[in-house]
Structures are given as C-alpha cells and as structure tokens.
Symmetry: C2
Subunit: 439 residues, 2 copies
Amino acid sequence: MKPVNIGILGLGTVGSGAVGVLRKNAAEISRRLGRDVNVFIVSTRDAEKARAVCDTHTLVTNDPFSVVKHPEVDIVVELFGGTEIARELVLEAINNGKHIVTANKKLLAEYGNEIFSLAEQKNVMVQFEAAVAGGIPIIKALREGLTANNIKSIAGIINGTSNFILTEMREKGSAFADVLKQAQELGYAEADPTFDIEGHDAGHKITIMSALAFGTPVNFKACYLEGISKLDSRDIKYAEELGYRVKLLGITRKTDKGIELRVHPTLIPECRLLANVNGVMNAVRVDADMVGETLYYGAGAGALPTASAVVADIVDISRLITADTGNRVPHLAFQPSQVKAQNMLSMDEITSSYYLRVQAKDEPGVLGQIANLLAEENVSIEALIQKGVIKQTIAEIVILTHSTVEKNIKKAIAAIECLDCVYEPVVMIRMESLHASNG
Amino acid sequence: MKPVNIGILGLGTVGSGAVGVLRKNAAEISRRLGRDVNVFIVSTRDAEKARAVCDTHTLVTNDPFSVVKHPEVDIVVELFGGTEIARELVLEAINNGKHIVTANKKLLAEYGNEIFSLAEQKNVMVQFEAAVAGGIPIIKALREGLTANNIKSIAGIINGTSNFILTEMREKGSAFADVLKQAQELGYAEADPTFDIEGHDAGHKITIMSALAFGTPVNFKACYLEGISKLDSRDIKYAEELGYRVKLLGITRKTDKGIELRVHPTLIPECRLLANVNGVMNAVRVDADMVGETLYYGAGAGALPTASAVVADIVDISRLITADTGNRVPHLAFQPSQVKAQNMLSMDEITSSYYLRVQAKDEPGVLGQIANLLAEENVSIEALIQKGVIKQTIAEIVILTHSTVEKNIKKAIAAIECLDCVYEPVVMIRMESLHASNG
C-alpha cells in the first residue's frame, strides 16, 4: 500500500517529538500498519531546526496554510497550539478534505463542536488522543474500549505540573510558592504557570472526557475551575494524618439532575490507586456500570509520550481512510445525531463531602456552636478533630462531613464565619471516596 | 443501518452476562454504534435458562454447529470454553465467513496461530479483548494505543484468584491452604483451583500479550509457569518488612538474546502501583520506548466486566465489517507477513534479581560461607539479613541479590544447599524493580 502523507503544523516540542518517533520507530510502525507514514511537509518558522529534525525529502515551509491545502497531504497534524490561527488552520484543512490529528485540548474544549460538525459534513476524521493525558490511550478507552457501558463518572489526575507540586508539598512539607519555583527551575512549570496551577488545563481535558462519556457537546464554559495556588501545606498535612491525600482532580459525573463538571483540589483516601499517582504522572479513573472501576496511568505530558499518542492517531486514520465513512467511531463517541446537551449542574447543585478547617477561640462551647450550624444546614459530621492550638488562644478544628449538597455547606460556612469566636475564613476542600459504585 | 446479528455459543456466566449487557444497555450501545446489536441465536443445553435470559425473538438451539453455519449470523461469539469443541466451532465459523469474538484465552494461547491464519485467509476478524484481563481494554491498548512504540516489557497481575489469595495472606498472615479454602467458599476459586493458582491462566494471558507486543506467533509452550501454592506466608511477611509485596506476575520482556515469557510469584517494591493492586483486581503494566510506563487497571473477571469486553469487540467488528479488509488492525497487532518467531529464552537464560531464604545453623562463619558461594557464581548481594532464630540453633537468613542470570543463582543455591550447616531447601523468589527504563 502506498505511504500515507502527513503534513505537520508546528515543530515545537511535540512536533519534533512526533517526527522523531516516526523516524526512530519507522520499521516497527510499518510492521504494524502495513504501509509507511511519510512526513511529507512541515510548517515552522525555524527552517534550520526543521532540516535538523526531518528527513531530507520532507518539504519545509513557513506558511502553515500551504500545508492544509497541499494536494499530496492526507492527514494534517495540528501541533501549532493556541486557538485562533489553529482553529482557522484546522477548519481550512477539513474544508480541503484533510483528516486531522491534534494535541490541542484548548482548541477542542472551546471549539470542538464547530470542528466536529464540519468534519462530519466533510467526511473526515479528527483524532485527538494526545489532547488528554498525553501518552495514555484514554480517548480510545472511552470511545471504543468501554462502548458496552453507561459511564457513571470520571476522575482524573490530568495536570502533571500540579501533581508534581502537590507531591512535593506532601513529601517535603514545603509551601506552594517554594515548590512552584522549584518546578519552574526543573522545567515542569511554565514561567506563567496560571494555565496549569489554576486548573484551566485540567478543565479542558475533563471537558473533552465528559462529552465522550455522556454523549454531550463539549462545554468548557460549564466547567468549574479551582486550582492549587491557595492550598496551605498545613491542610495537606492534616489530610495525611486523617488517611487522605490531596490531589487536583478533574471530575465529571452523571446524576439524575444533570452533569457535574469540575476541577478542584480533592481529598481522596490514601489506599486508592489515584492517591498513589505521584510526581508528573497522570491517571484517569472511570466508573462504568458494567465493567466497574478501570484506571489508566502514564505520562501525561512530554515530547515523546505525547508524540506516541499523535502517532497512534495517525496510524488509526491511515487504517480507516479507506473505510465506510458512515461506520467510523464517532468523534464524540456517540453518533452525531445522538449527541445531546444535558443539564450542567452549577457548583451549588453538586454533591460532595467536605474537609473544613476552622480557626476559632480555644474556649468551651465553640465546637458545639459549629456543629449546630452544620446541623442547621443538614450537614452531618463524620469527624470533628481539634488539631491543636495556634498561638495562645486559637484552636484549629478540622471537620470531615458526610455527603451533602454544596449549597448547604456554603451556607453553613458563611454562618460559621459569622461566629464571634471564629477567626479567618474557613478552609474548604472537597472530598471523593472513589468507591466503586454498584451496577 | 440494519442490525448486526450475533450468534452466541454457550450461555454460562459470561454468555448470560453478555446477553444481559446487550439488553440493559441496548440504547446506549446503539447511540454509539449507530445500529442495533441483535442476539439472533444462542446455543445452550439449558433452553429454559435461555428463555429467561434472552429476548423472545432470539432463537435457541442445543446444537452449536447450527449457529456457526446460520446464514443470518454475522458474528459468532464463542463463550463455549475448553479447547476441543471450541476450536472446531471457531474454525468452522471462520470457514463459513463469520467474524469471531471470543473470551477463550486457552484456545488462543494454544491454537491462536491456526485460528488467525485461517481468519486471514477468509478475511474475517477474530477479536479477543475479553481473553485478557476481563474488562480492561488492554488488547486495544497494545494493538492500537501503543502502535508508535517499541514495546520493551509487560508485567501484569492477571489472575484475580491468585491476587485475592496473596492479598489475604499478606493482610491476615494466613497460610495459603486456609485462604484458598476461604476463596473457594466465596466463589473466587474453583473446586479444582489448579488452573488459577499454578499460573496456567496467567500463562495463557501473558502468552497472548507477548505475541501482540513483539510480533511473534503465540507460543504457550515457551511460557514458564510457577504458581503460588508453595508460598510460605513467612516469606510474604519478610518481603513486607523489606519494603516489598509478593504478587503473581505474568512477565514478558524483549532482550538482545531473545524473549522472556514467564509466570511466577515476584517481589515488587511496595511504592509501585502494581504492588497496591489488591483483592481480585487485575492490572497490566507496559513499558514502551516512547510513552514510557503505562498501566491499565480494572476487574479481570466476573460476568459483567468480561461481557463489557465481549460487547466492545462486537461493536468494533460491527464498525469494521464494511471496511477495507486489507487495512484492518491485524490480529496479532503486526501484519501477518511481519509476525516472526523469535528466540524464546529458557529460565536459565533470564535475568532477574532474587530473594533467597536460607535456614542454617546459627554459628559463626555461616554467613561468610553463603556469601562466598554466591560470589563464586558472580551473584552480588544487595542485602543479607539474619531474620531471627527458629528453634534453638537454626537461624533464618534472607538475602536480596542484584540482577544476575538465573543459571548462576541456581548453581549458587545448589552449592548452598550442600553446606553442612544448611537445613531445608533454599526458598527462592524472583524480584522485579519495575523501574521505568530509559528510551
């Protein structure tokens, strides 16, 4: 069979990685695919780098738009990044009948519906394994491996930078700011780390997985984002003393009332596998009605792991390029006619259990007052522990609640903060038991 | 699109589970697939059960051979079990142009080459996600998700019964025989547990994964099998004191000299995710050159998890039934012309590190003699610990070695057992560090 021709937009870390993987493992890939993958053309502003990275026969251009319309190109690999020009390039490529491979989670979380809709009109495939959790084949698992299931929830450690910082904070008891600085020195965090540490990146990824799981359009605007920059290492320590680890989780869950979609720091029991995913590694846990709990672990970023996913998508498209277009795996896992918006729950409507830390005057009756205010909002207490006295007369009280609606806990917190004996805002961190649910 | 018609051979636990999944999640499956999956006919000796399990329109027969030749059947789902009649049925179904879904690991590990070869002649697909690790989509990950990689090794907890027994032995310090009895009462172990506890089942699974990883024919005969029935809970306790857990692993690894393929109890560092996979759960760790370490976790057995995999295969085939036959994912991951036998290493040739336990006279000079005998075979010692005195004059010595060729450790053990001061055969358990290797 004749080689499949790819055009790569952008030769940054992942782009160079993809070319490197295709060159280094060319023989192994062809042994599997039955045809060669040919890097026909790349667009980059750095022609010198391109010549160093690519085979001599690869064309190099500084005009990405010449790639998306080149008649010899079968598959356009978008590693351009950003959303403005990337969106234009992808739409034009699709209009020209090119199949797309992209690692651009932001593009898909924000413009995925438009892109998939055009792709369906034009009968081309858009593959995006590398957009979520790097080299872990989680998109394939959700779209194909778990087709027999009603998926109930997904919870994932899907931002390596944040997980590295949380791991260091726990292991060394360091403050957030110190670990962030170290992560920046190690190259695990960007100079402007907002995108990673404030949950945007994880939000894009859980938004994409939520759509695949529940057959809805992508809806990044509905995703609640709360990062790790305000976490106090004291809470990580207290959590650990109580048998929990704090992780930045992306969570999506189908409930009778609608879909939860959220990113925030979360206490999880230390015996769960997710609690033991450390450093920059990623893991995604899926709870589904037939198979129960499955978990997928691996490197969520990095040139080669991401390139591994990009190349897997290239191979998939190369196999299906000749197939019946009506019988392909749908972009969002469900047939386009079956993708339907569902009610997205606001944070007030979600259900969770909670870790609270209250600083209050160390005097009789305080615990009772706090417990009463929780009871008034129907929040029942699993544990209430006085963690010791700070300064002379201030005690720290840690409370673990049973499951409740978030609106109630917020009301209770507001009431607690009004008590004369309470200093400082109450610290609230959500908890997930990650029990496998039944049927 | 018209429904795809399936014929199911055998209505035992998994067969009933598959029918149940297809009925319960019919809407969700059709929303994804874009057509219905119709259980057209089932073969079973228990017609009454069939009528209770199946839709009224499903045909029921006691003659499985009538299913494999029925002109209306598109896909034959072999859940008959065993290898004799199952092999005949599958070959006849293929000869009749039927696609196959099977959960039968023994059949594929022993007769896979014959079956795949006939399937390629007849242009039909044979899918077997359920044959390895139940509901975990590990076959899909190996055949499709990791196509960009040279796979270096696989290590898996792939027998739930054994993992349940080892978990209980560790947590309660119980003896193997007691836990086995308990597992039998709970339904986690068969009346005749040989197949599970002596490593046969894990051997079938790692044999299949080895072929997929390295592009070789399936070769169950080359698989070394050592079960858990001779494990002493003392060794599990000592391992734990040293920071290790004992797991029954299926291991396959590509080396410069050939392929390792083996099942045996293994010490692994307690910080590894695999070490924390407990009870009947399964997990498979893959080390590959581009993506690094990935891990796949979930239920490895049970009616519904296995049915989840069976139905995913049915959906996959339904999608590809109209596709270009020359462009499908190959059965053994590599194009048939590229599947090549490679040198399979004997156990004498494999490389591992080792846990040894020696019972010896508690007197000066014993440790030195043992250390000398190891040194003579070029085995270097990582740790040598006297674990306390049994009876009056007998000490237990635990040794952890560095990596060495198994032939050497066996020679050293034989020499140690010849020492006058040594009682009882030396206990030897292999160790795996499960470090992610580089590039």
